[in-house]
């Protein structure tokens, strides 16, 4: 029963969606840089990486997932752009992980790992542990999909 509920919540689209988004972002990158080569490759790497994450966030669910929303917001803040949020009733999680009235009652082992996860998963700072687990699951799925797409692209483009 729990797994059935999870399947509804943690839906990840097909690889094609990810590929499409990524390639679109790449093409956008290329249009943004009409110059042949920027000064340093690190910037390019960073740009590509950012493009990868943004495309992944868009492909995964746009602003419907917490982590994707946080990712997009973070990216937009760097670019000084505003992210468009779809009008939707959002469930606000009131619990903040840092403040705990009864910290002893929560399992310390789980909480330590949850803290580490929060640092890794975007938008994890304001989530409860149970919600964090859901977001982590979806994030892992999307990340793996993105990695596969990029790997295919790299393999396709690499000279044989």
């Amino acid at each position: 029963m729990a797994s059935a509920d999870k399947l509804i919540n943690t839906y990840v689209p097909e690889k094609d969606v990810f590929a499409l988004h990524f390639l679109q972002s790449l093409s956008n990158l290329r249009t943004q840089n009409p110059l042949n080569s920027p000064d340093k490759s690190i910037d390019r790497v960073r740009k590509i990486k950012k493009a990868a994450y943004v495309s992944m966030a868009r492909a995964a669910g746009g602003t419907s997932r917490l982590w994707s929303r946080a990712l997009l917001r973070r990216a937009a803040k760097d670019d000084n752009k505003s992210v468009r949020f779809s009008r939707r009733k959002r469930k606000v999680t009131w619990k903040i992980s840092s403040k705990r009235k009864r910290s002893n009652q929560r399992a310390p082992v789980v909480e330590e790992a949850a803290e580490r996860l929060r640092n890794l998963v975007p938008g994890g700072g304001g989530m409860e542990t149970s919600k964090l687990m859901e977001e982590t699951a979806h994030y892992i799925k999307c990340l793996s999909m993105q990695v596969k797409v990029m790997q295919c692209l790299v393999d396709g483009l690499s000279p044989k």
Partner: protein, 341 residues
């Protein structure tokens, strides 16, 4: 009441006993008199002897048999002893009458005895049953009270829990209840044996179960988590996996960055449109895509990195296109193309 009855019966019993004893003695005396009479009369029927012999045996049988015999003899004696046994005849009649009357009485006494005995036993049983019944009833009442309390508290508990968490109800219903009758808290929700029934602890438990369920789901997703047992190890594995994936993304982006600048990045609108058109037609048939692919290296001049690729590498171009066109599973299955995934 029963006690009074018992007392009366006991008194009657006593009286009956005395009367029975008296009558027995009296009968014995009569028999002795009869013996004397019989001995005097030589013509004795063996029945008298039998009667006398039976004297020593059970009184009941004796009495009954003797009474029957007496009745016979009474009738028999009558004609025989008309002359000299007038008064004994009368006495016999009397005794017969008395014995006849007695015939019933001892039987009655016996029956009464039996009845009283039974009644005594019955009374004893009843007395025994009464406390048993009382205890049972008390137990029932207690159980009823408990059940009522349980129902009330369960209702309260359920209403309370509904207010707090919705999923906790399902989790509590799934958990079995054992030995909760002992604890009659005002919130009586089915909890596991040996665990507190605090509201907070129940909520905590429900929360922990939720988290464990989600962790099990994560365990299925993350490869290699099955070997490690325990929450800590699993969580470490999960964190490690997330870090690995993020590193992989970074590495692949570096690779792409390396690949791309080798080839010119200038993009012409036509190629971009074609590129985008290609991806919009992802679900299209193979033929259209195969048509598009040879166009790429021909039309573009440095628009894409594909342009600089020799026709030798058309296969490599085709491979990803076909793989993207088909289902995502084909990407996994294209081992011949050298894809890792």
């Amino acid at each position: 009441m029963l006690e009074g009855l018992v007392s009366q019966e006991s008194l009657s019993l006593n009286s009956m006993d005395m009367s029975v004893l008296e009558r027995l003695k009296w009968v014995q005396q009569q028999q002795q008199q009869l013996q004397q009479v019989v001995s005097q009369s030589s013509n004795n029927s063996p029945e008298l002897l039998q009667i006398l012999q039976f004297h020593g045996s059970n009184n009941d049988e004796l009495l009954q048999s003797s009474f029957s015999q007496f009745q016979m003899f009474g009738s028999g004696f009558g004609p025989n002893y008309n002359m000299g046994f007038g008064p004994p005849h009368e006495a016999m009649d009397e005794c017969i009458s008395r014995t006849s009357s007695c015939h019933m009485e001892p039987v009655d006494t016996i029956e009464v005895l039996l009845k009283t005995g039974e009644e005594n036993r019955a009374i004893a049983l009843k007395n025994k049953r009464k406390p048993e019944v009382k205890t049972r009833e008390e137990e029932k009442i207690e159980k009823k009270i408990k059940v009522e309390a349980e129902t009330e508290s369960s209702i309260k508990g359920k209403s309370n829990m509904r207010n707090t968490e919705a999923s906790s109800d399902t989790s509590k219903e799934t958990s079995k209840g054992a030995s909760e009758i002992q604890k009659l808290d005002y919130i009586h929700v089915r909890a596991r044996r040996g665990q507190a029934t605090d509201r907070h602890s129940l909520a905590e438990r429900a929360r922990r179960e939720k988290i464990s369920k989600k962790m099990k789901y994560l365990q299925d997703i993350v490869p290699g988590c099955n070997k490690v047992t325990g929450k800590a190890g699993m969580l470490d594995e999960i964190i490690n996996y997330v870090q690995c994936l993020q590193r992989q993304v970074e590495f692949l982006s570096m690779k792409l960055a390396v690949l791309n600048p080798e080839l010119e990045l200038a993009v012409e609108d036509v190629s971009v449109k074609q590129f985008q058109a290609y991806f919009t037609n992802v679900a299209a048939s193979k033929q259209s895509i195969m048509v598009d692919v040879p166009l790429f290296p021909l039309d573009q001049q440095g628009s894409l990195d594909l342009s600089a690729i020799n026709p030798n590498q058309t296969t490599s171009i085709e491979a990803p296109s076909t793989s993207w066109e088909t289902q995502s599973q084909s990407l996994y299955n294209t081992s011949s193309l050298g894809f890792q995934y």
